[in-house]
């Protein structure tokens, strides 16, 4: 009996303790509820900060693409010493160019594009410099098999979602055998009219720092040049099937504007170095249009007018006809024509006292034509990984009126996440 009373008393104590605990918890909850009610003007986000999205990580890969291109070039130019004494010499060249491009999203405002092209080059023209004697420099030997690489990083910040105002910062570095180059730039774009019009402006500075050679391949210290570019453009949706763009840009270059080993045939059966002006101002106007065609195709046209203070004026026009042959596959055909006047001081046979002279075939009056085609596939993928597989293969044939031609084969593979 006594045990039963003792057990009942203990149970009663436990029950009271439980009731007290429940009361305390209820009081705390009520107090918390009042505190929340007192701060009703503030949202959870305002107190705790915006929630970190659990479904979308803060830094994620949006796409990655790789491309491999092979260039096979042959031709002759008077700046090259790989031939007769008074030229023209060979411009034979083989280039393998692997590239990779990755786009990363950081939160909902930052986009990063990291771009790494690499060039592996063999060149006849600089190789020929050491015919007479083996030069002590790095270039003539290295250029038989020259590797060059670039890292280019563009970070874009979406400053205003309503007006789609973007600010981009671009930086990059180029490394080559004897050549160092750095570039940095800033770009701003803003949309108007519900995104139908986009206006943009950009500035870019390129600093090149490289070895100075004479035309026999001997090194004479370092030299540099600067290229400053400013530009502005507008893109406009004209109709549900037409989009156009126009832009203007100017580039001011100062410093050593040649590669320092180009040569010029002289009257005395010898060769001398190029003599170029130390400043070059370049202007370009570009117009582009893309028109959807009723038979599930598209036509893209591109025109560029160029003019500079060295006397070169150029017109380039390009058209690409694209046709979708399946929901995941389209083909394209390309035609590009280019015509330029030569530099005022271009010559293939210079007098020794000439103040300015060049025999560079790139600066000659010339016409060029590119024809090509490509096949592109964007395959949708199932599952949690990438949602699209991009495959592309293309071929182009480039020919120039002053004895130069090139075959280009390119293929790309990419994933879109």
């Amino acid at each position: 009996m006594g045990r039963r009373r003792a057990a009942a008393a203990a149970a009663s104590d436990l029950a009271r303790l439980a009731v007290r605990c429940a009361c305390v918890v209820a009081c705390v909850a009520l107090t918390a509820g009042r505190a929340r009610a007192d701060g009703a003007g503030l949202s959870d986000d305002a107190i705790l900060g915006p929630p970190r999205a659990q479904s979308a990580p803060s830094l994620r890969l949006a796409s990655v693409t790789s491309r491999m291109t092979a260039f096979e070039q042959d031709g002759r130019g008077y700046q090259s010493q790989a031939g007769p004494a008074l030229g023209p010499g060979s411009e034979r060249l083989t280039v393998f160019e692997p590239q990779i491009d990755a786009v990363l999203k950081h939160g909902d405002r930052f986009t990063h594009r990291v771009f790494v092209p690499v060039d592996v080059i063999t060149a006849a023209s600089p190789d020929a410099i050491d015919r007479a004697r083996r030069p002590p420099d790095v270039l003539s030997g290295a250029s038989r098999h020259n590797e060059a690489g670039t890292v280019d990083w563009t970070a874009t910040y979406r400053a205003d979602r309503a007006t789609q105002t973007d600010v981009s910062l671009r930086n990059g570095l180029h490394l080559e055998e004897d050549f160092r180059s750095w570039h940095g730039g800033l770009a701003v774009s803003r949309a108007f009219a519900d995104g139908a019009t986009v206006v943009s402006a950009s500035a870019l500075e390129v600093l090149d720092w490289f070895d100075r050679f004479d035309i026999t391949g001997h090194r004479h210290g370092r030299t540099s040049r600067s290229s400053t570019t400013g530009g502005a453009g507008v893109t406009q949706i004209l109709t549900p099937t037409t989009i156009v763009a126009a832009s203007y840009g100017v580039t001011v270059q100062t410093g050593e504007l040649g590669n320092t080993w180009n040569s010029v045939p002289l009257a005395a059966s010898a060769r001398g170095p190029e003599i170029l002006p130390p400043v070059r101002v370049r202007h370009a106007i570009v117009g582009k249009a893309s028109q959807a065609l009723p038979w599930n195709g598209a036509l893209r046209v591109h025109y560029r007018f160029y003019s500079d203070t060295w006397g070169i004026a150029a017109h380039s026009a390009e058209g690409m006809l694209l046709q979708r042959v399946a929901p995941f596959l389209y083909v394209g055909a390309l035609l590009r024509v280019h015509r330029q006047t030569g530099a005022d001081f271009y010559t293939t046979f210079a007098g020794i006292p000439a103040a300015r002279r060049t025999a560079d075939s790139d600066l000659a009056p010339l016409d060029s034509r590119t024809v090509g085609g490509k096949v592109v596939s964007d395959l949708p993928l199932d599952g949690p990984g990438p949602r699209l597989l991009h495959l592309e293969i293309g071929y182009e044939r480039y020919s120039r009126s002053n004895d130069l031609w090139m075959n280009v084969l390119t293929c790309a593979t990419g994933y879109v996440f």
Partner: protein, 75 residues
């Protein structure tokens, strides 16, 4: 003088383009423009490849955002 002519042509082109944009195309009518075939510019790697190919073989590089310098001893 030639530079001023270029600037004038650029200004006229910009004004003409802006004037054409007075009628806005509604967003729900822009579906066709989202097709990759309708892109004004090539895919970035392809654009870089083409740009480098032309700037190193023609004397008309630069002025439109291209680097016009750097690499392979090009001007």
């Amino acid at each position: 003088m030639r530079a001023w002519a270029v600037v004038r042509i650029a200004a006229v082109c910009a004004l003409a383009t802006a004037a054409l944009g007075c009628a806005t195309v509604a967003q729900n009518r822009r579906g066709r423009l989202a097709d990759p075939m309708m892109r004004l510019d090539d895919e970035p790697l392809d654009a870089y490849r083409q740009q480098k190919m032309y700037t190193t073989r023609e004397g008309a590089a630069g002025g439109d955002g291209t680097t016009a310098g750097g690499g392979c001893g090009c001007q």
